[in-house]
């Protein structure tokens, strides 16, 4: 198995071989390079455009063909502040009502995107409970999080004011962005911001306690 360690920004990149299912029933071997990994979760009521945000971010909205089983549909490599990272975005759009599986879904997430639609007040109201659930499940007072008011291209249909959004974000102590998956506004910023938040708490996704020691090691 090829192991190609490359030094970049203190992060070793490995080429790993992964078995992936392609299109039909064939299994295919793909080569994937990884840097630091981040596991993000997209949450929000049905119909707020979560999947559209994910699709827009991961592969751009104008995809000729889309196959949910290929890795390009949920994984993206980006560079944030000179650091290579692999973002894995799990979006269970379509299964919002399977409430029982939410806990597990949250448990394995590092960063959370809470999405509402600026055209539907109820989707905004639902987020309070979702956030509480995340904090309970993660057993933390604060987690890396971005509050997102989606569909900001539909200004005519707006019912949730921008100030409402920023107030809620202030209350949550998280970043606030108004986005449009359709018009490609602020989409990438959501994910870059999350990476930065995670790095602030614990550089490169590690618990805080290690930060100091890590620097020592590098010196």
């Amino acid at each position: 198995m090829p192991v190609l360690p490359v030094r970049k920004g203190g992060v070793s990149l490995l080429i790993e071989i992964f078995l992936l299912r392609s299109g039909g029933s064939d299994r295919q071997t793909l080569v994937r390079s990884t840097g630091d990994r981040f596991y993000f979760r997209i949450l929000g009521s049905g119909g707020v455009g979560k999947s559209a945000l994910t699709v827009q971010f991961v592969q751009g909205i104008f995809v000729e063909k889309y196959d949910p089983t290929i890795e390009d549909s949920y994984r993206k490599q980006v560079e944030v502040d000179g650091q290579q990272c692999m973002l894995e975005i799990l979006d269970t759009a379509g299964t919002e009502q399977f409430t029982a599986m939410r806990d597990l879904y949250m448990k394995n997430g590092q960063g959370f995107v809470l999405v509402y639609s600026i055209t539907a007040q109820s989707t905004f109201n639902d987020l309070q409970d979702l956030r509480e659930q995340i904090l309970r499940v993660k057993d933390m007072d604060k987690v890396p999080m971005v509050l997102v008011g989606n569909k900001c291209d539909l200004e005519d249909e707006r019912v949730v004011g921008k100030d409402q959004g920023s107030n809620l974000a202030h209350q949550f102590g998280c970043t606030f962005l108004e986005t449009s998956a359709k018009a490609k506004i602020n989409v990438n910023d959501i994910f870059y911001d999350l990476v930065k938040q995670i790095n602030e708490i614990s550089p490169q996704g590690k618990p805080k306690g290690n930060h100091r020691k890590r620097i020592c090691a590098l010196l």
């Binding site: 070793s12 490995l14 894995e88 759009a93 590690k206 618990p207 020691k213």
Partner: protein
């Protein structure tokens, strides 16, 4: 359009993409297909005739196109092969989309019709479609009346379409639906048309018999039964296989009644008009909710009795796995892994190791890893098989054997009931997510305002999988036990918040998590990426997805550190070598999550044929591409390993102490398993 893409768009086998043809209200993909003909004579001889047969204007003669057979003009002329030009609709107006049902190629015609009928609800109402079909049908026959020539092909295709529609989606024409109204309004005026008249009669007959059947069949829903019943069950005493069979019976009914088109992203996202999907979701949540409630509810229950209940649920999940009921299986696993239950480490501690191992394997089925790859693969291999037959990996085989051994229905299922076919019930959520994504990723309309039929084709691929599974679910032979249904529906469900409060009252917060978290952290005296990767697994922030590949456990290694010590033994395969045994390249061995340095060393030495050596004279070192990682003398090797190297490439070395080099990569930590 690149070659790769055109290949995937090929509608039929052995065809290749030629180009695209645009009209004002349609876009066609053009494909060329080579058709071979068998010689009618019994003499097997390759004879070729070129270009003199033309079976219609849509076909191109093969003359000059990649012919490789020898030109033998001495033989009788016989058409061996020709290239046929096929047209596949990519996008079009509603009229064009319907007209395109008529295609020279029967395969394309059948596929187009199936895709159309399964997905039309995303772009037109039944009435609109009905009107359009009748209009096209009338148009093609009127032509016959006036001009003396008919587009018989088109009119026949339209009649076929109506017939197939009535057969496959009778629900569209039920009394009180738009389709019913329309069918009568649209078709009745043309009752003099024999074809339409017989069609109408057929429909009326079909609908009547359907109504009768529906009346005869009882309504299978958990809520349909009154909680008052004569015979009652209790969770501790009910046989697990009976429980699982009854859940499966209920899920089977729901799944067979599922109208797959309701799952289409464009329809389901509106959440209305999808009653059969909603019913599936409701049953799923009802089951998960009951799992949580039965474990938490009784305030007087001891930790032991809660553990018993939890154990019972794992046993029931085992049975569900054998029945290939992935819907209820996922519901129970989700319930057990929901925060209020999962955090109760004191309860989990009482569960037998074996049972925990089985549970972690069951939960592994629904791992999120690689966009739920495990689940998809499993459905692919077992979906339409009669029995759980994991052929792909030996690991899975071993696991299944384990489940079988400890299941009580083993004797019933194997081999006595070996002839009883079994179905599969999938977890619907994955399909809903995939369809939601396809809906977001591909536009509904293209080239102005044309219906993007390629998108519908893509959606149909997923609907077709569901249809196939529905077919297999008919294989279940299960009888309903109304007492069970009554008893089960009377069990209480809890909402999120009250479940969490109850959970806290059983095991207060700080004793569990905050306390454990401290002892769980690493007290490393030096640091490197190795430690980081260890933290990746053990820390509470990161998600351990990587480790789940290696260790075969998710949900347990990942998060709640308070629990990771109790939850199942996981293992990883490592390659061990030793400089004292230069002739052996390496040996493979397993390291479990409770194995510490001395034990691993002893095992490794034994493997290497150095069993006489004292492990205390050796040091365990992991060999990494650029460095080494020394294990402290009593580390938990499993967790301390640097797993940034690919699976199967973890190399350990047993190094005699005198060989030691100065390397400060060693780490030490409090073992979690011994705490």
């Amino acid at each position: 359009m690149d070659a790769d893409e055109s290949c995937s768009l090929a509608p039929v086998e052995n065809s290749r993409h030629w180009g695209e043809e645009k009209e004002s209200d349609a876009v066609w993909g053009i494909f060329l297909k080579k058709v071979r003909y068998q010689r009618p004579s019994s003499i097997v001889q390759i004879v070729q005739a070129r270009g003199n047969h033309s079976l219609g204007d849509k076909k191109v003669s093969s003359n000059g196109i990649d012919s490789d057979e020898p030109d033998d003009s001495g033989e009788i002329a016989h058409l061996m092969w020709e290239t046929v030009r096929l047209k596949v609709l990519r996008a079009g107006s509603l009229k064009k989309v319907i007209e395109a049902i008529a295609n020279d190629d029967t395969d394309i015609q059948a596929t187009h019709l199936s895709v159309f009928l399964a997905t039309y609800r995303t772009f037109a109402s039944p009435a609109e479609v009905m009107n359009e079909i009748i209009k096209i049908y009338r148009g093609s026959t009127d032509e016959f009346l006036s001009k003396g020539s008919t587009d018989e092909f088109l009119s026949k295709a339209m009649l076929d379409a109506l017939n197939v529609w009535l057969d496959t989606y009778p629900e569209d024409f039920e009394l009180g639906t738009e389709g019913f109204e329309c069918l009568h309004k649209t078709v009745l005026p043309f009752a003099q048309d024999e074809n339409l008249k017989s069609l109408l009669l057929k429909t009326q007959y079909k609908l009547r018999s359907r109504r009768k059947m529906k009346k005869a069949a009882s309504v299978h829903s958990l809520r349909a039964y009154s909680p008052v019943c004569i015979k009652t069950y209790s969770l501790p005493t009910i046989p697990e296989n009976h429980f699982a069979q009854q859940l499966t019976y209920c899920d089977k009914e729901l799944f067979l009644n599922l109208r797959v088109w309701e799952c289409l992203g464009g329809l389901w996202k509106r959440r209305c008009g999808c009653p059969t999907v909603a019913a599936t979701v409701e049953q799923f949540n009802a089951l998960s909710g009951r799992v949580v409630a039965t474990i938490l509810l009784d305030p007087a229950a001891s930790i032991q009795s809660r553990a018993k209940t939890l154990d019972k649920w794992i046993r029931i999940s085992q049975e569900l796995r054998l029945l290939k009921n992935f819907s209820s299986l996922k519901a129970i696993v989700s319930g057990l892994e929901s925060n209020p239950v999962f955090r109760l480490s004191k309860v989990w501690q009482l569960i037998a190791k074996d049972r925990l191992a089985i549970f972690s394997q069951l939960s592994q089925i629904f791992s999120e890893e690689n966009n739920r790859m495990a689940q998809r693969t499993l459905l692919e291999t077992e979906g339409t098989a009669k029995f759980p037959t994991p052929t792909k990996s030996p690991k899975e085989k071993r696991f299944l054997n384990r489940v079988l051994r400890s299941s009580q229905s083993t004797t019933k299922l194997f081999p006595a009931e070996i002839d009883t076919p079994n179905g599969t019930i999938p977890y619907l959520g994955t399909f809903l997510t995939d369809l939601t994504f396809i809906d977001s990723a591909l536009p509904d309309r293209v080239h102005g305002d044309l219906i993007n039929f390629e998108k519908r084709r893509k959606e149909f691929e997923i609907l077709a999988q569901l249809k196939l599974l529905q077919g297999s679910a008919k294989g279940y032979r299960l009888e309903e036990d109304p007492y069970f249904t009554g008893w089960f529906s009377a069990l209480v469900c809890l909402d999120d918040k009250s479940a969490y409060e109850l959970s806290l009252s059983i095991q207060p917060e700080r004793n569990v998590f905050k306390g454990h978290r401290k002892t769980d952290s690493f007290t490393s005296n030096s640091s490197s990426e190795n430690i980081d990767s260890v933290h990746q697994r053990k820390g509470s922030i990161p998600s351990s997805n990587e480790s789940s590949i290696l260790y075969g456990v998710t949900g347990s290694t990942g998060n709640s550190s308070g629990l990771s010590s109790n939850i199942p033994e996981s293992t990883v395969v490592v390659k061990v070598s030793s400089p004292s045994k230069g002739d052996v390249l390496y040996k493979s061995m397993m390291v479990g999550n409770s194995d510490h340095t001395p034990r691993v060393l002893a095992q490794a030495l034994e493997k290497l044929g150095l069993e006489d050596e004292d492990p205390r004279n050796y040091q365990l070192v992991q060999i990494l591409p650029h460095k080494e990682l020394k294990f402290p003398s009593n580390a938990n090797v499993f967790y301390a390993l640097d797993t940034s190297v690919p699976l199967g490439e973890i190399r350990l070395e047993c190094r005699p102490i005198y060989h030691l080099t100065n390397n400060n990569n060693s780490i030490s930590k409090h073992s979690t398993t011994s705490s």
